[in-house]
């Protein structure tokens, strides 16, 4: 193995209230990278009281080489599903990192650009608030391309409780479509067509 590959290593922190499915989202993301995209991935998750309320967090590393150290000090991607979690982690995000938030639950005071999705509201409209994490995952997949859509969907199907696969895929797709549409909207804004009437 003389060939030396350049290491592309991305650290992700997914954070929010305990109970929002933060750890599950992190696990699915890591599984999608490892099982679907055949990369290396690690997950460090919150234990203890955080996972039952308060700021809970999942640290995921996705890399094309062996990962030596599983903690994420400065994430490339920060996904926030609660404002308190945002306050806690916002300063750790790399200067060129990507910030993803839940539109209704986080009010970022950011100078930099960030991407928000009303994930919890959308999940409520779909009938299950607990699917907000899957919607967020779909959104993350669309915006960041950390993992491929197919792997992400597969990982979702194999991780959620039996019988809810279909609903979760609908939720994932909703988040994913919203993400694509967000990117499209950004492009339109750049060319100066933000509204329907110019």
């Amino acid at each position: 193995m003389a060939e030396k590959r350049e290491t592309i290593r991305q650290g992700v922190i997914i954070t929010g209230f305990g109970g929002q499915g933060i750890v599950l989202a992190g696990r699915i993301l890591g599984m999608a990278a490892a099982l679907g995209d055949h990369k290396e991935s690690t997950l460090v998750q919150s234990y203890g009281p955080e996972s039952r309320g308060g700021a809970c967090c999942a640290q995921v590393i996705i890399s094309n080489n062996v990962i030596q150290y599983p903690y994420v000090a400065m994430p490339d991607v920060l996904v926030c599903m609660s404002h308190s979690a945002y306050e806690k982690y916002k300063d750790q995000l790399k200067p060129d990192g990507v910030l993803l938030t839940d539109k209704d639950l986080v009010r970022p005071d950011e100078k930099r650009d960030y991407f928000s999705i009303p994930a919890t509201r959308m999940a409520e409209e779909l009938g299950r608030k607990m699917m907000a994490n899957i919607i967020m995952l779909g959104f993350t997949t669309a915006i960041t391309s950390l993992v491929s859509v197919e792997s992400a969907k597969e990982a979702v199907t194999s991780s959620v409780p039996k019988g809810t696969e279909e609903k979760n895929i609908i939720a994932f797709t909703k988040g994913y479509d919203y993400g694509l549409s967000k990117i499209k909207g950004r492009e339109k804004k750049v060319i100066g067509r933000a509204g329907a009437i110019s």
Partner: protein
């Protein structure tokens, strides 16, 4: 050699003296000219002017007295306005506004009248014969007429239990009119064809469908009335109940001639993108004609709805096709009893849509939606495309798109269109869309959704003081919600309610801003 037909409506006073003088001098009036002597040009309405074209005239001239010499004062000004509107509609329709002229003469202007007649004649000949060529056969029904017995049977009117729920829910009856759906049904079952119930009341029905909602025997009263009207028209009872002098029925019948090439889509604003090869077609409807006809009413700009719909399609990256020779969908003819012309329009429309290989038709007009999506097939015209209403399209797109709306700090209430809410079963989409706009408040009127009150008229038929009472009631309901913006979904709701708001006695207290939902969305939507 083509026989040209040119109608000259000639005022009895000024110009007729000049015309007389021409005849005295044995001047040969061109043989194409058919002179109709009238008491005053001001009384020749848009409907009468257009009627001449519908009956096959190649040119129509309205000749009156010089401004200031009108015996009745305002005749010349009225005539000028009517001619201007009619000319603009002729232009939209594709007949060309050169076929219509208005001119005025003093009694002694014999020579200028002569020059005018000659000049107009040669001009019309240059334009060639009118594409509207009604033939004698056209007047005879091509569709096998149904008789009343068949109609009663088909709609199962015998199931009427005489319970009276229809009358007690009928918005016309509730605004004080001596009018009862069940009495109409009973008279028709008893074949009392000369009774008032049949002769008058059949034409008053709004076909709004409230009675059908309530009927325990599920008698579809609106469709029943539609077929009864068709049957009565086949037997020659016609026209007297049409509003605006039957202008719109004439206009729509004129569109049944396939040679006519509409100019409706000319002058599209430059920001709107159209793709003739698209598999999605936007069907606009007749709003541009309405805007010209009603331009003396304040704030009637219903064609904006079409432009805003196109902009919204563009916003979601759809560049739709449009029918260059788009005609009326036929709704008003079908519902005012002219089934034969309806079928002609329907066939022409469907043919031209099929020719473009269209897979989906999107329309923002509730009547076009209802007619194309259900009445065409019910009349045996097969469609190879699906029909979607703009609100359904918008709700589906907005649901998956990252868009937001500029704040709308208005208090909103919503006027359901009967064709959309009751006939088309689309009442949740507009409400979802309104909530997405996040207005200051959204309050339903006392009667809403399935129970919504009609805007007071349908298919330009049977408007009277009770329609006005009904409209006033509706506007009061809108005001009592405390809203300052009445959101509508149908161009006709806007026209009819605006008409009622221009009441000279109640005007100020009645006025309320109206906007179409599609237009509001187009104004406020933006990428997030």
């Amino acid at each position: 050699m083509e026989n040209f037909k040119i109608i000259v409506f000639l005022c009895n006073w000024g110009p007729h003296t000049a015309y007389h003088d021409l005849q005295d001098k044995e001047y040969g009036v061109p043989s194409e000219i058919k002179m109709v002597r009238i008491p005053c040009t001001g009384r020749i309405s848009k409907a009468l002017l257009f009627k001449a074209f519908e009956m096959g005239a190649d040119g129509v001239a309205l000749v009156g007295c010089k401004s200031g010499t009108c015996r009745y004062g305002s005749g010349t000004e009225n005539a000028a306005m009517n001619t201007e509107d009619t000319k603009d509609i002729l232009e939209l329709l594709g007949l060309g506004n050169d076929r219509m002229r208005f001119s005025t003469f003093l009694p002694d202007e014999t020579n200028s009248l002569k020059r005018f007649l000659e000049d107009f004649c040669s001009n019309v000949k240059k334009l060639g014969p009118s594409p509207i060529k009604p033939s004698r056969e056209d007047r005879i029904s091509a569709v096998p007429p149904k008789n009343m017995r068949e109609i009663v049977k088909e709609h199962n009117v015998f199931a009427c239990q005489d319970c009276g729920k229809c009358t007690s829910s009928c918005p016309l009856a509730l605004s004080g009119k001596q009018y009862s759906p069940r009495a109409i049904a009973a008279s028709i079952i008893a074949e009392e064809m000369d009774s008032d119930e049949v002769q008058k009341d059949v034409w008053s029905c709004l076909t709004c469908g409230t009675c059908y909602e309530r009927c325990p025997s599920d008698v579809n009263f609106p469709s029943f009335i539609r077929d009864v009207r068709g049957c009565l028209s086949d037997n020659g009872y016609n026209e007297c109940h049409q509003t605006h002098g039957g202008f719109f029925q004439s206009l729509m019948r004129a569109m049944t001639f396939s040679e006519l090439k509409s100019q409706k889509w000319n002058n599209l604003p430059g920001d709107i993108k159209i793709d003739p090869k698209s598999k999605i077609l936007f069907f606009g409807g007749c709003a541009p004609y309405f805007d010209v006809f009603f331009r003396n009413h304040r704030g009637i700009k219903t064609s904006n709805i079409l432009m805003d719909s196109l902009r919204l399609l563009n916003f979601f990256d759809i560049q739709p096709a449009i029918l260059n020779n788009e005609r009326c969908c036929g709704h008003d003819l079908l519902w005012s009893g002219d089934r034969k012309s309806f079928l002609k329009l329907a066939k022409l429309t469907v043919e031209s849509i099929h020719d473009l290989g269209i897979e989906e038709v999107i329309t923002s007009c509730p009547e076009c939606f209802k007619t194309i999506s259900s009445d065409y097939e019910a009349n045996g015209i097969k469609l190879n495309f699906k029909v979607t209403h703009m609100y359904e399209f918008l709700e589906n797109e907005i649901d998956k798109a990252a868009v937001s709306f500029d704040g709308l700090d208005r208090h909103i209430t919503y006027q359901d269109s009967c064709r959309l809410a009751r006939h088309g079963k689309i009442k949740d989409f507009p409400r979802k869309l309104i909530r997405r706009l996040q207005p200051e408040s959204f309050t339903e009127m006392m009667d809403s959704g399935n129970a919504a009150l009609c805007c007071g008229n349908c298919a330009w038929t049977g408007c009277d003081s009770f329609s006005k009472a009904l409209q006033s009631k509706r506007i009061r309901q809108a005001h009592s919600t405390g809203s300052d913006l009445l959101v509508t979904s149908c161009p006709k709701c806007q026209i009819h309610l605006r008409c009622a708001m221009e009441d000279p006695f109640l005007g100020k207290e009645f006025m309320m801003e109206m906007q179409d939902l599609t237009s509001i969305i187009a104004k406020t939507i933006c990428w997030d």
